[in-house]
Symmetry: D4
Subunit: 219 residues, 8 copies
């Protein structure tokens, strides 16, 4: 009675409903997982803290937990790669890596090739340019940055591919928990950029996967 699982979602969207772990009790999460496990090969729960994850894994022992990404993943078989293209996840700093990981695990679970370049922020921009070839080769880019959030503009200026920008709450004072990075990204002077919520690695990974797995449509 506490959950109406959207069983139709795998059919409609190609991937089952993803559980938002925050604000749910371990009991509720276990109940939802038990109901879903009957029909789904993969179950993803986001925003899980370690304590709740441990309670859930007492029941679902094969579930994998990534503490930095706060993701719990239960799968009965490996996701099949469903696109030739590659998703590239880039971060401005070391401190942005947990959000990047949330995106990477999500996109991999959905059946994508995923790669990463970490800590190439704009204060030493030659570090970014050193990876120019790999950046230009990516099908979709996820660019993760806190503080002033300038990296997506620079990356998007270098490529023809779509860039999903993810602001993080890394910073202090007027970084306002990621609001500054978000606003910077929304005002990007590059045009092949769209933005997701602060620290929303999951959403960025999902959107990148959605784009990367579009059916062929070139002429």
């Amino acid at each position: 009675d506490y959950a109406h699982i959207d069983h139709h979602r795998s059919l409609r969207k190609g991937f089952p409903e993803v559980i938002f772990g925050q604000g749910k009790t371990a009991e509720q999460i276990i109940g939802i997982m038990q109901a879903m496990a009957k029909n789904e090969e993969i179950i993803l729960i986001t925003r899980m803290d370690r304590q709740k994850a441990d309670q859930v894994r007492a029941i679902f022992q094969e579930a994998e937990y990534d503490e930095a990404a706060r993701i719990l993943l239960l799968k009965t078989r490996e996701p099949q790669i469903r696109s030739k293209g590659e998703i590239l996840v880039i971060t401005a700093g070391t401190s942005d890596i947990p959000v990047a990981k949330e995106a990477m695990i999500t996109a991999k679970a959905m059946g994508n090739r995923v790669n990463s370049i970490f800590d190439v922020g704009v204060a030493g921009i030659h570090r970014l340019f050193a990876h120019g070839r790999q950046i230009q080769a990516a099908s979709v880019l996820v660019v993760v940055a806190g503080m002033e959030g300038a990296l997506p503009s620079v990356v998007a200026g270098m490529v023809r591919a779509p860039v999903i920008a993810v602001p993080t709450s890394v910073g202090y004072g007027t970084s306002f928990g990621g609001m500054t990075a978000l606003l910077g990204m929304l005002n990007s002077c590059s045009s092949n950029v769209a933005v997701v919520n602060i620290d929303n690695g999951f959403g960025a990974g999902f959107m990148a996967a959605t784009i990367n797995q579009m059916p062929d449509k070139g002429e």
Copy 2:
């Protein structure tokens, strides 16, 4: 000396630099267009008011101006369609149409098939469902809404394709010039959604075109 045109951009990104008309004098815009016209088949200027557009068209008489979209377009030949997929632009209300048009003109100029459904907001949601088939067939969706900005969530819940959400400044009081719609879209409980700046039809059209024209990558 007032402009450094990015002549390399057509090559790098497949489309020439787009001029941001706001805050530039008609003289500056004409100068930039003259410099670009030597190399480019298409020149797009956004955020042009009628008065400036008229001054520019005194010089470039073949330029087309859309007053609602505030776009000026100069082209020496029709853009070639470069994708089998179709971009579908949907608005919540009649008042959101100008922003939708900015997206449509941009995406068409870049060589995309573009269609639209207007005024199907969530207060009478059966109007949206009546177009279910067309919505499910689109390659990329641009969903434009002001006020509470709820439409992209509902549309994204219906499809597997990526949705670019565009908040508009339609509303009053606590709509805060589009901020409420923007925040709603960033917090969408559907995951195949990414967001652009308030009233940024241009950016949405550009991003949708970028996605729609990705090289084939299915397996």
Copy 3:
């Protein structure tokens, strides 16, 4: 001396003053309850954490405490149903249930029939429509949602009855502790909607009860 109980309130408003538990010591709450218990058949205390509730129940052992709703209820007899109509409480997600419970306990304590539908958010909107008949039959609806807060607009578009919208602090990043949901609800494109404070299940339940128990006035 720390409290001026509004003893006249039962008479004036049909229900005694409700104690706001936050920011009061257990001693103050006990003192207020002792003063009220002389005249009232029911005493409601909101925003009580477990620790304070335990201290109070050491004195008032018959008091019932709901930890999710953070409500303490002391009653000497069951509230009498005072309306034919039914209040229906709907939530967008599982994480919104505690706020819904605060509304439900309040409205029941005031003498109303109360029902609920949980976890029918707009990302899978068919789940909502499956309950169409029950929704259309309700006298008053309380719709509880966090994140983008879109559900009240959709529900209100389906019914003729008044909808009380309750934003919750469920979400992260730009959900701003419920502000995004609140703003969305205030800008609802449906007109039979009014809004209460973030996480204010109590106020929503009280307002719904007030409406549901209005004296007959049809012609």
Copy 4:
């Protein structure tokens, strides 16, 4: 093609779709009115400035326009009173009257008895109490206030009936275009209060009418 009129709305909600005039051209409004006039006895357009209203009345000469309320009303017969109860609209100041009028015209058009008391703000609160009897007799109250927005709390403390609070943009400096009044109303220490958007007289009138016209449900 610029409008999808919700023709089903009269049936579903007892009143036809109301047109939001802001951001629409006079031509669009006339087109919508022509389509609606085939089926509806009453058409309401809100947020109309005088200039657009004049253009519309050149076509629909029998339409009535209230400039303060910015409402255009076209009706083929008088609305029938459909409730015994009375809606009472109260304002804190003289400057809040236009918003009050928007509520009153709306509620009357929907078939309600409506009365008003203007300029009884809390700085001279005896003025309010002088109307105590009329206030206590109302079925539903709409309380309109700018600046600190304190009046709804005081009125709601006096009555058992539901109060719809409407913040207005009257004030300056930190009144922030009505935000201060809105926040005050959302934090009312009276519990029979719910709130609508800033300057949203239309929504308040509609919600009050919805409540006032609920089918009988007392026991």
Copy 5:
């Protein structure tokens, strides 16, 4: 070297510098007190938590600590009453009492007669009017309220004396830690009101004392 005590302040302002306890170590506070104790009969430290207060009282055993008000007071003789007038401190709720106490202790330490009325908020406004005579007799009023902060407007409307309004952080959701109450007070429709910072009982008590102890100037 960590503090430049303003030893000239007693002379200039009639009361020694008051120490802001927050953000200082116990060692720093003790050092400052030792330096001040040579010249001053009274030392006031605000915003002290219990732990720091205990460390300080290990050295200054005669110091009095009020945990609710978070004030530490060290005095070598009782403050002399220096005005015929009386300061009256009024609160809207029980939860506002700690801030009221900070004002009362401050004003008493400065040599004023101080009285109080607690929990007379506007939801049951007859409770306030029951104290009409005492309210009209006060020389200066300090009115303390959280949530919508409406009480100072009502009180100021009843009296000729100056009212110092103190917003408190009591509330939740859109009370925004007292911002809503502050804004309400700044927009008061009564004119004999001025405002201090959120939860600044100290400043309100100091300002009220300053006013109450002005040299005679009537004609």
Copy 6:
């Protein structure tokens, strides 16, 4: 019917109700003045633009209008000085003078001696100190400043008298229409300061007059 004049106010507060001109029509203002003129010797209307003032003075020819202060004053005899003390109004810049004038006219109309020092902001603080003696002699100070709003803190640090701080909307960019000055004043590290709304010269003058005219209470 558009106004409930508070005729009891002169009696209760020693000064008649002051009319808030903004948002009222000239007709409404004239009507209110006609009703008040029967009982009052002085009528003050604030926030009047020149055009409305001219319409009113066509009827009330003896009314005086100050365009900078936007005040209209109608009096049948000169206000009597009712206090020995003097109110001193100080501004940080030349651009703050209109707000200062609103305070000065108000306080004079209420029967106070009023003086002023203009343009002594903190960037050249010796200009302020040159007036030290006059500043120390004032009974009540009104300090008016825009931009960073630092002047009230410095002035209040120099005197024992109460300081009413008035933020102005002078500035640009992050002065946020006076919000920065307001916040600075609310956080003053001097304690004999209380604050009124942005650009609220009227309120500051009224509050200063209220304080300056308190009945004698020294011992």
Copy 7:
């Protein structure tokens, strides 16, 4: 009486007081200029619109006015160059040029060599790198940008010299009149950056000049 000119400022700070033109009447400005002209060789007035400038130049015919920069300059002899170093002013876009000009005129008037590079924003970052040598040679840099304000971080990462960042109000929607650019600059991941107010070209030019003209201090 409306102005206290800080005649001591040339002596103290090496440059006379600069007049803030906004909010002053032409008469006041002329009066201030007449008083200053007795002692100063150069008078600068900022934030002057054309109309006021014309009125002033009717009296001071030799004054030069730059309409884009909104600066009026009156000088009796050319400013002497007082530093070997060069100030370089860089803008992200063409629309940022007016703010850049305000900085350039100010710094030149104070006796500095000033150069500029316009329209080298981060979306086509090779345009910036093409000027690498000139950028590295500058003594002080002023970097002007609107929208996401990312340019100062990138420039500061390339040089050892201090960078003064100036956010502009260029942009729309969530650029919030320059707030987004400002926040980005305050959160720069380069550390040789400090920031001035939005659109404050004057302040940036003044600060850059102050730094460029520091007395020699190397060892």
Copy 8:
């Protein structure tokens, strides 16, 4: 793989990359330090809490940790003084000292003479003036203040040298974690002021050092 150290930075900017400790694990920090220690004589890590510092010092035993400043410093030889000029760090209160220390340690590590004056806020401004000579002698000033943040304006008005203003989060209520101080500083009516992020002592120290160590350029 979690860090791309900018090894080129010492060369380019005269000082190696500074590690931002917040959001990194102790393991990551140790790894970065080990990589840097091969080439650098000094390594600075900011925003380190004690626990992480202890873990790091188990490996790098010669590293020095300042708990107030939250800085860890590892150096193989003393920094050489590289400028004749002196940096002076001034604070408004005792509570601002930790931020001042972060600036001081940074500037010293970069090879500057650094001095300080603490607790000379504007409420007792004679304390500041007592240090007039030392203040006028400084080459660069760093002025640190919370609450209303008025001190930098006053200091900058006294000197010809550049002032770096640092807002701190000291305060409560409407100090908004330092936002009020920041806004005040950005709106300074003194023009030789530029600002860094809230609590960013590191950035202020770095910028002051950058300015203090500019190569000679006087003529």
